[in-house]
Amino acid sequence: MVAGISDYLKKIWALSIKDMRLYYFKGPTIVMGVVMPMFLWLAFMIGSSPSIGSAVAMLLSISSFFAASSITPVILPWETRQKTLEMILARPITIELVLIGTCLASMLYGVFVSLVIIAIGIFLGVCAANIPVLIASILLSSICYSFMGLLFSAIPSDVPADAVLLSSVVRMPLIFISGVFVPINRLPILMRPLSYVSPLTYYADIINDLYIGRSTFSLGIDFLVLLLFTIILGIFTIETNRRTIIKRL
């Protein structure tokens, strides 16, 4: 039993390392996961003059979000196109292990990018009020957003650009309704319900709390809702991908 679990973990890790080596430095990943949120942030910075603390908080929120959700959408279309999917699935692994490996790689991408931004913040003299809470929120939200990205690969297309486009179309508006740039209580009243169903809202709320002491919900609520999102998205995306992956053969 224990040997069984450690074998699973080894296999997931091997798959995940493969994904990291193959996808971390691919053009679309860097553009959609790192460059794009940076530009969005810069565009907002030019129009306003927030404190360094809130500038770092904004960059951290959107970067974790984009980075963690930028790898999961492209891997399956890419592997379908490269004709490696059937080759890898014929090994003693399951579709679930492949998907979890993918999510792990994507999630760690989010974590790495977040750590870089935290380091930049420290360099500029701003730091989160509570480091363990910061780390926990980055880990949990990165898992959540990597599952969210996986949602876009449930469409059995073999054109990675399709998944990239679709995921961007969905992720972009979320930035504006999740209290990253504009606090939720200053959003038009009609848009507020939307912000409550965005998983980014709760992570951004934690980050704002930790960096500038402004929050809409308590930390407990934030973590609880993020956890719920993670569980629901996790089950839902793995199940839908499990069904459609066969159509990719």
């Binding site: 080894k10 296999k11 193959l22 004709k83 059937e86 014929a90 066969i246």
Partner: protein, 306 residues
């Protein structure tokens, strides 16, 4: 070692596989031979647990493939029909990745990987990215990847199709070498000669059904009792002269060439008749061929349902 029981699979209205059953015993090379679209790939995918059959079951070493795919697949190596190694990883890293998915100790991977690459003529290219390899080299790498776990059973879907002569020969000799080491191999091919050359037993599959099964020699004896006699006369002959053959044999006449297909035990009789015509019309025989029908002709006839 491998058992397929009544496998069915349809895709929408296409019935790809309609009740395929066979079993393969230890150390045997079993060939699924059939034209394109016959259902070979679908069958292999069901047996290796990639596709769930609509009906029927598949076992590998007694393990139900769809109950316990991980355990079943840990005993097999697979080279799918259309597949690639990871082109952005090196030859060596591709091998190591696969080795890790079987949880093989590092030293074993290194040792086996080295000897496999040497045997398949890829050792010099071990640090090259797979994208720099030719199609034949990639297929050889895929074979090495399928063998890194030293599996008891190997599944090869069209292992040599579309390859250069050198790679095809290398893969075939690897296959015969593996048989000597007691491996069980299930391969598919649409190349009749390949099946005749490599396989201990062949099942001919067409339109999703197995329509004949046996050793290549069995099939040759069962379906290959016909021979073909070709005679070249010095003058063209009128085809009405051949009427006396028509009742019994398949005869065609093309100017001076006459071709007669008959059963082996009729050879003597047919040759007599040919000599008769020769004397009657005062012809001379310039050339004569007598051939058993090739495996290919047999295959074509079985598939046509003759």
């Amino acid at each position: 070692m491998v058992e397929a029981i009544g496998l069915y699979k349809s895709f929408g209205s296409v019935e790809a596989v309609r009740g395929v059953s066979f079993s393969v015993s230890r150390g045997e090379i079993f060939g699924l031979l059939g034209p394109n679209g016959a259902g070979k790939t679908t069958t292999i995918r069901m047996i290796t647990g990639l596709l769930r059959p609509d009906r029927g079951r598949a076992f590998i070493m007694g393990i139900d493939v769809h109950r316990d795919p991980i355990e079943a697949r840990s005993h097999i190596g697979v080279v799918p029909e259309v597949s690639n190694p990871y082109v952005d990883l090196s030859v060596w890293d591709n091998l190591v990745l696969i080795g890790k998915l079987y949880c093989i100790p590092k030293e074993t991977i290194i040792e086996r990987g080295k000897s496999l690459l040497e045997e398949l003529g890829l050792y010099d290219r071990r640090s090259s990215k797979a994208k720099t390899l030719s199609k034949g080299m990639r297929r050889r790498l895929l074979l090495a990847m399928a063998l890194i776990s030293d599996p008891e059973i190997l599944f090869l879907d069209e292992p040599t199709s579309g390859l250069d002569v050198f790679s095809a020969r290398k893969i075939r000799s690897m296959i015969t070498g593996l048989r000597r080491n007691g491996k069980t191999i299930v391969l598919t091919t649409h190349n009749i000669d390949e099946a005749g050359m490599l396989c201990d037993r062949v099942a001919i599959i067409n339109k999703g059904k197995i329509i004949a099964e046996g050793t290549p020699d069995d099939l040759r004896i069962r379906y290959g009792k016909y021979i073909e006699i070709k005679v070249l006369f010095d003058n063209s002959i009128d085809s009405s002269v051949l009427n006396e053959f028509r009742d019994h044999y398949n005869v065609t006449c093309d100017e001076r060439w006459v071709t007669i297909i008959c059963e082996k035990n009729e050879l003597d009789e047919v040759l007599d008749k040919i000599m008769n015509i020769k004397h009657r019309l005062d012809l001379r025989i310039k050339d004569l061929h007598i051939e058993s029908q090739s495996f290919e002709d047999i295959f074509v006839r079985i598939v046509r349902g003759e």
